[in-house]
Symmetry: C2
C-alpha cells in the first residue's frame, strides 16, 4: 500500500539525495519508516529523494502510482544502508563505514571492513603522492556526504549560525513566539543531537564518579582544561603487514609504545577508527582530532603506509596533548590493553560502548570554577566565540591555500625543477663529451671537471625531487590534521550558541512572568558550564596551534636550509675539480 504525506513546512534540498518540499505539498512515501529522522519519497515535481520526517505529516490513503522500482535509487553509493544505530548519528566522516556498526556485538568486530571497503566508499586519491586537498574542504571528506553536509551546514561554514539545510521551522525552537523554553523543533541541530539542549533544559541526569570529573580551571588566558597531571606521549612505529585466515586476509599493524607504560601494543587502523567513533560520540564540545583518511586501493604501498603512519603519529600527538582526551578510559584501554589478551580487549570495548556519560550526560561530568569572579559574562563569551568563529574561517581558508601551494610546489620540484637541473647536467655532459674529441692531452682535466659538474647538476635535480618529502610533506600532514579540527569547531560553536539562545529565551520569559526565576537560573548555570568547556577547548586549540606551527615552521626552514646547503656542497665539490685543471 502506497503512502502519502503532506509537507508541514518548506524544505530546501542542499545535498545530493535530498528533495525540496513546499508547505502543503503532498508526497508519495517509499516507506513510513524513517531513517535517522529522514523519509524517502517522491514530491509533486516527480523528484525522488530524502527529506526530514518532522517536516511532513503522513496521510494514510492509497496512492494510484505503483511503488518505485527500487528502494534508495537516488541514495548515493555508500549511503546509509544498512542503518547505523541512531546513537551513532554524528558528522558522518567520523563514522565507521556501514558494514561495521560502531556499536553492537563483538561478533562483527573481526570483520575486515577496512579491507573490504570499496572505492566508492573512499573518495580522495590517496594513492598519489600529492593528493589534491582542494576538494576535501575542511578535512571532512565526502564519504557520507549526505549527513556530513547537513551537519557541517549547521555551523559557521555556511556563514550563518542557522542551519542552512534545515531552517528552524516556523514557530519552532527559536525565541520568536513560543511561550515556554521548549525543545527545538529542528531535531537535526547539533545542539539537539549533542545532548546540549537536553542538558541545558535540565533533562540530563546520571551519577558522576569522581574519576569521570572533567575540570575547567581559570588560567592566565581564561578557562582551561585542567592539565593532565601525568602527561605522556605515545610513539607509532613499524607498520607491519600481517595476515590471518591462512593469508586470505592481510592488514597493517602499527606498534604503539605509550611512554607512561613503556609496554608496546599493536593496533590496526580499524582499532583507531573504533576509538575515534567512541570519542567523537562522547565529547560533544571537544575537537577530537580526525584520523588520516582511509583509502581503498594500494593500501600496502610503501608511500601510503608511511604517510598513514605519520598521520596517525600526528593524531596520537594531539590525543596525548589534550588533557581530557588523554585521560579518558577508552583511550587508555586502547593504549594499554595487551594486543594478545582478546578477552580484556572485548571487555574494555564493551565498557566503552556502554558508557552512560555521553551526550547530555557528558556535560554533567564537567566541573567549572565557582565562587566570586568565576561567572562568565554572557556578552563577553558571545564576542569571544564569534571572534574565534571568524578566526577559524580565515585559518581554514589560509590552510587550504597553503596546502594547495605546498602541493603544487612539491609537484613542481619533483617534476619541473628536477628536470631543469638535470637538463643543465645533461648539456654539460654533452659538452664534456664533445671536448673529449679534442685530441689534446692538456685539456683532459677540464673535460673531467665538466663531466663532474654534469653529475653534480644531475644530483641536484634528484635533491630537488627528494626534498618535498623532507619539508613540504610534514607541513601538509600538519595542515590535514588542523583542517580536521577546523571542521569540528562549527559544531562545538553551535552547541555553545544553542545554549546561549536558551538563556536569552528564558530571561525574556522571566521578564514576561512566564517562567520561574529559579528555572531560568538553572538554565544559565548549565549554559555557563557549556561556555566554560567551549572556551577551554578554544584555548587548548590556540595553545597546541602555536606550539605545532612554531615547531613545524622551524622544521620546514631547517630542512630547506639543509637542502640548500647540500646543493651548495655539490657545487663546491664541482668547483674544486677545476683547481687542478
Amino acid at each position: 500500500m502506497a503512502l502519502r504525506a503532506r509537507a508541514l513546512y518548506d524544505f530546501r534540498s542542499e545535498n545530493p539525495g535530498e528533495i525540496s518540499l513546499r508547505e502543503h505539498e503532498v508526497l508519495s512515501l517509499c516507506s513510513e519508516q524513517d531513517i535517522e529522522g529522514w523519509l524517502e519519497g517522491v514530491n509533486s515535481r516527480g523528484d525522488r529523494g530524502l527529506f526530514p520526517a518532522s517536516y511532513v505529516q503522513v496521510i494514510r490513503a492509497p496512492a494510484a502510482e505503483p511503488p518505485p522500482p527500487a528502494r534508495y535509487a537516488n541514495v548515493p553509493v555508500g549511503g546509509f544502508e544498512p542503518l547505523p544505530p541512531p546513537a551513532a548519528f554524528k558528522p558522518a566522516a567520523q563514522q565507521p563505514p556501514p558494514a561495521a556498526p560502531s556499536q553492537g556485538s563483538d561478533d562483527d568486530w573481526d570483520d575486515d571492513w577496512d579491507d573490504s571497503s570499496t572505492v566508492a566508499d573512499e573518495p580522495g586519491a590517496l594513492g598519489s603522492s600529492y593528493p589534491d586537498y582542494e576538494t576535501a574542504g575542511g578535512g571532512a571528506p565526502g564519504r557520507y556526504r549526505l549527513s556530513t553536509r547537513s551537519d557541517l551546514s549547521l555551523g559557521s561554514r555556511g556563514g550563518s549560525g542557522h542551519p542552512a539545510g534545515h531552517p528552524h521551522p516556523p514557530g519552532g525552537g527559536s525565541a520568536k513566539s513560543s511561550a515556554t523554553v521548549s525543545r527545538n523543533l529542528n531535531r537535526f541541530s547539533t545542539f539537539v543531537k549533542s545532548g546540549g539542549e537536553a542538558f541545558v533544559l535540565g533533562e540530563a541526569s546520571g551519577f558522576v564518579k569522581d574519576g569521570d570529573k572533567l575540570c575547567v580551571v581559570l588560567g592566565p588566558r581564561g578557562p582551561e582544561w585542567q592539565e593532565n597531571p601525568y602527561p605522556f606521549q605515545c610513539s607509532i612505529e613499524d607498520p607491519t603487514k600481517q595476515t590471518k585466515f591462512k593469508g586470505m586476509k592481510s592488514y597493517i599493524a602499527y606498534k604503539l609504545v605509550p611512554s607512561h607504560t613503556g609496554q608496546q601494543v599493536h593496533r590496526r587502523y580499524k582499532h583507531f577508527d573504533w576509538l575515534y567513533g567512541r570519542l567523537a560520540e562522547k565529547f560533544p564540545v571537544i575537537s577530537v582530532p580526525h584520523l588520516p583518511e582511509k583509502q581503498a586501493t594500494g593500501r600496502f604501498e610503501e608511500d601510503f603506509i608511511s604517510k598513514r603512519r605519520k598521520g596517525l603519529a600526528w593524531w596520537m600527538d594531539h590525543m596525548c596533548s589534550h588533557p581530557v582526551l588523554a585521560q579518558c578510559d577508552a583511550f587508555q584501554h586502547f593504549l594499554t590493553c595487551p594486543s594478545t589478551d582478546e578477552k580484556a580487549w572485548k571487555q574494555g570495548k564493551r565498557k566503552a560502548e556502554k558508557d552512560e556519560m555521553v551526550g547530555a550526560n557528558f556535560f554533567l561530568t564537567i566541573s567549572v570554577p565557582t565562587g566570586p569572579g568565576a561567572s562568565l559574562d554572557l556578552q563577553e563569551v558571545e564576542s569571544q566565540v564569534d571572534g574565534f568563529k571568524a578566526f577559524t574561517k580565515k585559518m581554514d581558508e589560509s590552510a587550504l591555500q597553503l596546502n594547495h601551494t605546498a602541493n603544487e610546489f612539491a609537484r613542481k620540484q619533483v617534476t619541473g625543477f628536477k628536470k631543469e637541473y638535470q637538463k643543465v647536467g645533461h648539456s654539460f655532459k654533452c659538452l664534456s663529451q664533445a671536448f673529449e674529441l679534442d685530441q689534446q692531452a692538456f685539456s683532459a682535466g677540464l673535460n673531467q671537471a665538466i663531466a663532474f659538474t654534469a653529475e653534480a647538476y644531475d644530483a641536484i635535480g634528484d635533491l630537488f625531487a627528494d626534498q618535498p618529502r623532507q619539508d613540504l610533506d610534514p607541513v601538509m600532514d600538519l595542515l590535514a590534521l588542523y583542517q580536521g579540527h577546523l571542521a569540528n569547531f562549527p559544531d562545538i560553536i553551535h552547541v555553545q550558541k544553542g545554549a546561549l539562545t536558551k538563556v536569552k529565551e528564558s530571561k525574556r520569559h522571566v521578564e514576561e512572568g512566564k517562567m520561574e526565576l529559579q528555572k531560568a537560573e538553572g538554565i544559565q548555570e548549565r549554559c555557563n558550564i557549556i561556555s566554560f568547556a567551549t572556551l577551554a577547548e578554544i584555548n587548548h586549540f590556540h595553545k597546541i596551534r602555536v606550539r605545532d606551527f612554531k615547531s613545524q615552521m622551524q622544521h620546514f626552514l631547517q630542512q630547506q636550509i639543509l637542502f640548500f646547503q647540500k646543493v651548495t656542497q655539490k657545487l663546491e665539490e664541482a668547483l674544486h675539480k677545476y683547481d687542478s685543471v
Copy 2:
C-alpha cells in the same frame, strides 16, 4: 629582349632563392648581368630564382614569354642588392650590411647605417632578454642567408668536404681527368676566394716587409703562432649615448683603454664592424672572432647596450689573445688612433683598405719552421684536420644544446621558479594574517615570524629571477663567441683541404710525366705553409677554448654557490625569528 641560357651541368638548389638546373636544360634569364657570379632566371619547370652563372651558357635568342613582372621577386628580403663589391665576398654574416660597402670612399663613413638598418636586415629577436639561439645555427645568423649558406655548405657542416650546393662541375678542378693542375672551375669555393688556390699554384707575388712577417713556430703541441712579445689587454667600458647633427642622429660610443698605451679612445659599433671586415678579408686561415649581433630596434635599451658591451669585451679579449690579430696594423690603428684626430683616422683607414697583403698575398707573409724535422707529414696533417673537423661539429652541436638549455633554464628561473617561491611566500603571508585574528597576545611572535618567513620566500623568488644575469648570461655570451669561431672553421679547413688536393694532383701528374718535379715541389712547399698556419690556428683555438671554458665554468659555479648561499642566509634569518617565539 628576353635572354635564354643552357645549363652546362646539373645544379641542385640548397637555399631559398636558388633554383635547380639539369644539364642541357634551357632557362629564361632575367638579366645577362651576373650578381657575384649568380644569375637570375626561370627554369623549365617554371621555378624562378638564382643559379651559378658559370653553370650555364647564354643563348642569344628571343624568348616568347614576357619578362617576369618584377626583378628578384624570389630573392629573400635583405638579399644582395645593392651589390657589395666583389672583394668583400665571404661568409655574409661577417659583412657589413648592403648600405655600407666595406670598402670605398670616406664620404660614406659617417652614414649611420647602423642607425638606419631595417628590421628585415636583422633577424633574431635581440630585444628579448633571452633570444632563442636555436635558429641561429652555428652562430652565423641568417642575415645574408643566401651566401652564408653557400659558403657554410663548403665545409664540415654538411658532413662532406665537397661543396654540397656547388658540386665540382664535371671535368673541373677535382683530380678526375684533367691533365694539368688547373684552376678550380668552381669559383665559389673558399679555397679559390681566399686566394689559397692562387697561392698554392704559385700565382701570388708581393713584397713582404719584415714587419708583416707572421711566424709559425714548433711548440710542444705542434705548430703554433709565435707569441706576441708585447701582450696587452683592452677594456671596453662606459657605453655612452652621443648625438650629432644637433641631436638628429644618436649612437653609442664605447670607451676603450688598451693596456699597452693606457690612452683611452672612443669607438662606435660601426668602427668595430669596419675593422672586422678588414680582418676577415685579410686573414683567410685565421678565425676572426665574430662581433655581437646587430639589432634594429631598441638599440638604446639598457639591457641591449649592456649585453653588447659584454659581447664586445669578449670579442676584444679574443682579439688581444690572438698573436697575429693582436699585432696587425688595422687593429693597432683602431686601438690607438685618437678619437679626435679625424685626419689620422682616415689615413689609417685608407692604408688598411689598400693593404696588398690580403688574399693570396697574405700567405706570402707566413714564415714556417725550416730545416730537418720541420716538414709536415701530409697524411698526419690530413688526419689531424679531419679530427678537428669532427671535434668542431660535435662542439657546435653541444654548444647549441647548452645554449638552448641555459636559455630555457634562465627563462624558467625568471618566470616559474620565481613564481613558485613567491606563491609559497604569499601562502605564508595569508597564514600569518589569519593567525593575527586569533586575539592571543602570546602568539604575536609566531605571527611575526611567519610574516617574516613569507617575506624571505618572496625575496628568494626575486633572487631566482635575478640569478641568470649573474651566471647563465655570461655562459651564453661565451657560447655565442665560440659559435662564431665554429662557423669560421669550415672555411679554414676547406682552404687547407684544397691545398692538399692540389698537392696530390701534382704528384700524380709528376708520376704520369705531365709535370716537372720542381713545380710539384713548389706546390707542396706552399701547401706546407698553409698546413702550418692551419695547425697553428687549431692549436690556438684549443688553447683559448680550454682557458675560456675553465674560467667560465668556474665563474658559473662560483655564482651559483653565491646564489644558494644567499638563499640559505635568507632562510636562516627567517628561522632565527622563531627563536624568541
